[in-house]
Amino acid sequence: MDIELMISSFPKLLNATLITLKLLSVSLILGLFIGLGFAILRMNNNKLINKFAYGYSYIFRGTPLLVQIFIIYFGLGQIEYLRTTFLWVVLKEPYWCAIIAFSLNTGAYTSEILRSAFQTIKPGYLEAGRSLGIPSKIIFTKIQIPIAIKQSLPAYGNEIILMLKGTSLASTVTLMDLTGVAKYIISTTFKPVEVFIVAGGIYLFMTFIIHNVIKYLEKKYGFQT
């Protein structure tokens, strides 16, 4: 055991954790909007819109995240037309490519989580709202969304942890996130176990915190079906 290496690599890894957290938080926020949008489309009665939303989530859930990042980072740059538009400013940065891939990916999973949460809301709540003459927009924002959030908390907590692990793939497109830096230190020192313990420890610490925050929220908002 090379304790010295563990201590000296700790600040570097901690620094890289900031990038991991940035990637995670931005993708989760964007993904939540994408997920909510597609969950609403999924519940649409129009078959075509419904199929489109289903296709989106099927494709993003059925392929590895690595493929998605590679298509966006290496693939899209190949389209000459894109290079002339303002999109190129975003797409030439590995950071934004990773964020786009992560957001679309977590959006697909989130849409499934939210859809099933919306569908398990008891029809009685909506009927009660309607018979009290509450406009359907307010039923949606004040009744459906709060209940759906409560019901999807446990599953969404898992999704956050999966996404935290997913951000490690940013290292494959040259980003120096926690895993990227860990790999760099391993390949220069050839001490995989030590670096794994430190980097893995940081990841575990983050999962631990996420897990407990979700648990606290579940308790606070009273999980009920």
């Binding site: 590895p64 690595l66 493929v67 590679f70 693939g75 190949q78 692990k165 997913g166 790999k183 893995g200």
Partner: protein, 230 residues
């Protein structure tokens, strides 16, 4: 489409064999995962606090650390560890383990953690009366486990195991970083030499979609077969 021709001109045959490699790694990893699950599920259910914490440590660590980091650990650390063990037995030459084994093993350990949770959940949701009845009736251990507990456990576990299979299948794409030529690696090579990454990575995505779709069909059939009531 010429890019997909079989033979020297296209990448069709290379990608075909790469797909077979992905399937082979996934199945091997799944089996290694079952072996880990068979070892750790009893630990997780054990009343002994020490054994219990070993079981919990395994599932918590593996499920809380990125797959890529686990793969790097085995990729860079694997041959070192084996050489260390070999040096105890007096063998000091350089040993290189093959990428297939490292890959399957690291994905297997990951998939094993998920399988362990599935088996634990399934065992815990079997009615306690079943265990008691089997014991009271004096069945021997073999019948007790293989004829009474296992069939009931599988029935509950199969739907979740098909999720584990999906995760495992997609995780194998990460082994491409170690150089094992599976779908992702082959697409990377093809994209590099033809300068057509969009086409090859999209095609890789299609291959994965086909694999997940076909395996879901197969697993759904298995699920209906085993979910028959008793």
């Amino acid at each position: 489409m010429e890019l997909l021709y079989f033979g020297d001109k296209g990448w069709g045959d290379e990608l075909f064999f790469a797909t077979l490699m992905t399937i082979a790694v996934s199945i091997t990893a799944m089996i290694i995962g079952f072996i880990f699950a068979a070892l750790f599920t009893p630990l997780k259910l054990s009343n002994n606090k020490f054994l219990n914490s070993i079981g919990n440590a395994y599932t918590t660590i593996i499920r809380g650390v990125p797959e890529l980091l686990v793969i790097y650990l085995f990729f860079f650390g694997g041959s070192g560890a084996i050489m260390f063990v070999a040096s105890i037995f007096g063998y000091n030459d350089y040993i290189e383990i093959n990428a297939f084994l490292t890959g399957s093993f690291s994905i297997g350990i990951i998939s094993g953690a998920y399988s362990t949770e599935v088996f634990r959940g399934a065992l815990q949701s079997i009615d306690k009366g079943q265990f008691e009845a089997a014991k009271v009736l004096g069945f021997n251990k073999y019948i007790y486990f293989f004829k009474i507990i296992l069939p009931q456990m599988l029935r509950l576990a199969i739907p979740n195991l098909s999720n584990v299979w999906q995760i495992t299948l997609k995780d194998t794409s990460l082994i491409s970083v170690t150089g094992l030529v599976e779908i992702m690696r082959q697409s990377y090579i093809a994209a590099g030499s033809t300068r057509d990454p969009l086409f090859f990575y999209s095609f890789a995505a299609v291959l994965y979609l086909i694999l997940t779709f076909l395996s879901m069909q197969l697993l759904n059939r298995l699920e209906t077969k085993y979910s028959k009531g008793y």
